[in-house]
Amino acid sequence: MNGLPAVTGSASWWAGPRDAVHAEWTKLRTLPGTGALLLAAAALTAAVSALAAGTATCPAAGCQLDPAKVSLTGVDLGQAIVAIVAVTAVSGEYSTGMIRLTLTATPRRWRVLAAKAAVSGAATLAAGAAAVLASVLAGGLLLARHGITPAHGFEALSLGHGPVLRAAAGSVLYLVLIALLGLGVAAAVRDSAVAIGVVLGLLYLFPIIANVVGDQAWQRHLDQIGPMTAGQYIQATTNLRSLPLTPWQGLAVLAAWAAGALLAGGLLLRFRDA
């Protein structure tokens, strides 16, 4: 006919799951700034971690410093950048009107969200792994210079040590879950400024309020339900018994937040006009 590919089936030109993922990957890859942001997330995470490890000291009387936790401090900043990438993956489409094209190509809206989650999650996984690896290596070198070594009774900071490996791998998962949380929130509220505000508010407000509430039981509950406080229990390697939750339970709390946000975002995406 006139050059168009022949349409053989009623639905075959709709994007399948693989096409949807491929389309999202192309968008994320070619968007100006994604690469720079992910690079910044990794670099800043490693830099802040190195700064924390470089300034860590222990008074002569002894302290209960957690070497793994200290060397992963940068995750507190890195999560904000990871959240930006995830939020803009959704709200960027709304601000330019691209979302209408996307939903025309892939009318199954859950599939669009799933593809976005897969691509953003994978990108965060790669950047997060680099960030955490660099943080742990820098932390090991810098903390040893201050005498915070197994010889002085501290936990060994090497990935061969079980709890440290759990803290490091868990931190990568933590960043991926933060990205999914950001994606869900952005799908729900659409505007990028509001979405990033909501995500960072959820992360940073729980520890602040827990700090001022005098009641111990309230403090404990706030720490247990806060996505950042609970999620970061995965980074603890010492004094685990004093934590309100086990490390993996803590990460599960964050996973619940991410799942809830994705569900809310997905439902709104499904039943609302684009």
């Binding site: 000291t57 209960q64 930006i84 960072l200 940073y204 520890p207 602040i208 009641d215 004093s242």
Partner: protein, 536 residues
Amino acid sequence: MTVIAPYRSELIAGSDGFTQLVRAEWTKFRTVRGWVIGTIVAGLLIVGIGALTGSGSQCSVADVTPQNPNPPLQACPPPPSGPGGEWVTDSFYLVRQPLAGRGSITVRLTSLTGLYSASGALPEGPNPTAGMTRGVQPWSKGGIIIKASTAPGSAYAAMMVTGGHGVRMQWDFTHDTPGLAGDVSAASPRWLRLTRSGDVISGYDSADGAHWTLVGTATLTGLPRVAQAGLFAAAPGYSVTTTSLGGGSMTGGPTLATATLDRVSLRGAWPAGRWTGAAIQGSSFTAPTLPPSVQGFTQTAGRFTVSGSGDIAPLDRSSGQTVEKTLAGTFAGLIVVVVIGVMFITAEHRRGMIRTTFAASPRRGRVLAAKAVVLGAVTFAAGLVAVAVTIPVGVHLLRANGNPVFPVTALTMTRIVAGTAALLAVASVLALAVGTLLRRSAVAVAAVIAGLVLPYVLAIIPGVLPAGAGQWLVRVTPAAAFAVQQSLPAYPQVAADYTPANGYFPLAPWSGFAVLCGWAALALAFAAFALRRRDV
């Protein structure tokens, strides 16, 4: 030939003066429903979280006696107040005589030793000092004192030798002047003298008893004619703070100081002629002291040893609730305000409205200034209302739950209320400037929140950052501005936990606020520059 006049509109040309610009920006702000709702939400968050923290903090004590094993819970009693109205701890051992009118007391102090519990365990049993380690605390003190009465919190002036800070003259809990430096020993004793004339007390020190130096002069307003004067010893509790993820723990406990004094010479009106000893006990539950049975004094052939525990000092924040605790919602309000500030400019770019704005007023720097004025004024007004409601509500709830709340002066209260509103306003202007610079709203919002809120979070959560790094963060980042909410000053002469986690900032209130203003001014300057250079 006809001359055709060029077309001129019948309308009077609009003016683009600054007033018109401000009016235009105000119209934009008030007609975008989301921004108005957002500003109201910011205020409600501040009030709501304030009420939450007020009702989430309880304090109660029960006076258990053998006759009444299950007494009803009562509100925690407030600690004693000093002459300036501030809360104080006033616990020490006093060996005294009445001093009626003019007079002076001179002593030679030959040693100051101490005991503390190395394990941090509270000493118990009939002989609680048995398991304690020898060692004097830096702010353990022994010397001479003239005090209005034996009531805790009454006015006083004292000359003392300290464990690690040389000779000091201290009066009325908050005043401190250094005298001779160096540690005391039998080979290098310290001579101390206090003279009273009316309500003026002068303190002198000397290394040899012959050459005297005036250390300080204190005026104790309303000092009664018959005051109590004599020898004293006090030792503040020591603490070792250990931090770990999930909560910091403090171990520590009461300590004891023993001063040895001789060559006691009295001049003037000392009618009693003999010494009596008593442990003054005016402490709160957080200022640890050893039981009075351990404290005491001996007097043999003109030589005195005085053993005392406790401290004579203003209390730090951990002894009660503070006004600024009700303002934790500032952070939530701040996040909303930052989102609105960024959107105030990025929304114009997104909708193309910015082209109309700049066509109407080509001087772009003035447009940015008008935006900053409108945004700052609206945020300041909303913040002022929210904070002015939150503090009374929060403090009322704290008191209703039995919490003693630190008293603050009207001036400090004004600074906290106006400073918090100004903090929100300047933060919104910073967000506007960063939004102008970066144009991408998500990046701008995250950058401002990461600069304002994250350093504070890192500094206060125990076990995240070492203390030095935490202090540094709240000194140079915009988060330094939260110092404007600090209601209690830190005293260099008091051994207390003066850290951001305990609500003490390294910078003075308005200096910390100036750090945020500096960041906002810098960002505005860059934004104005970028706005002129870039296409819209």
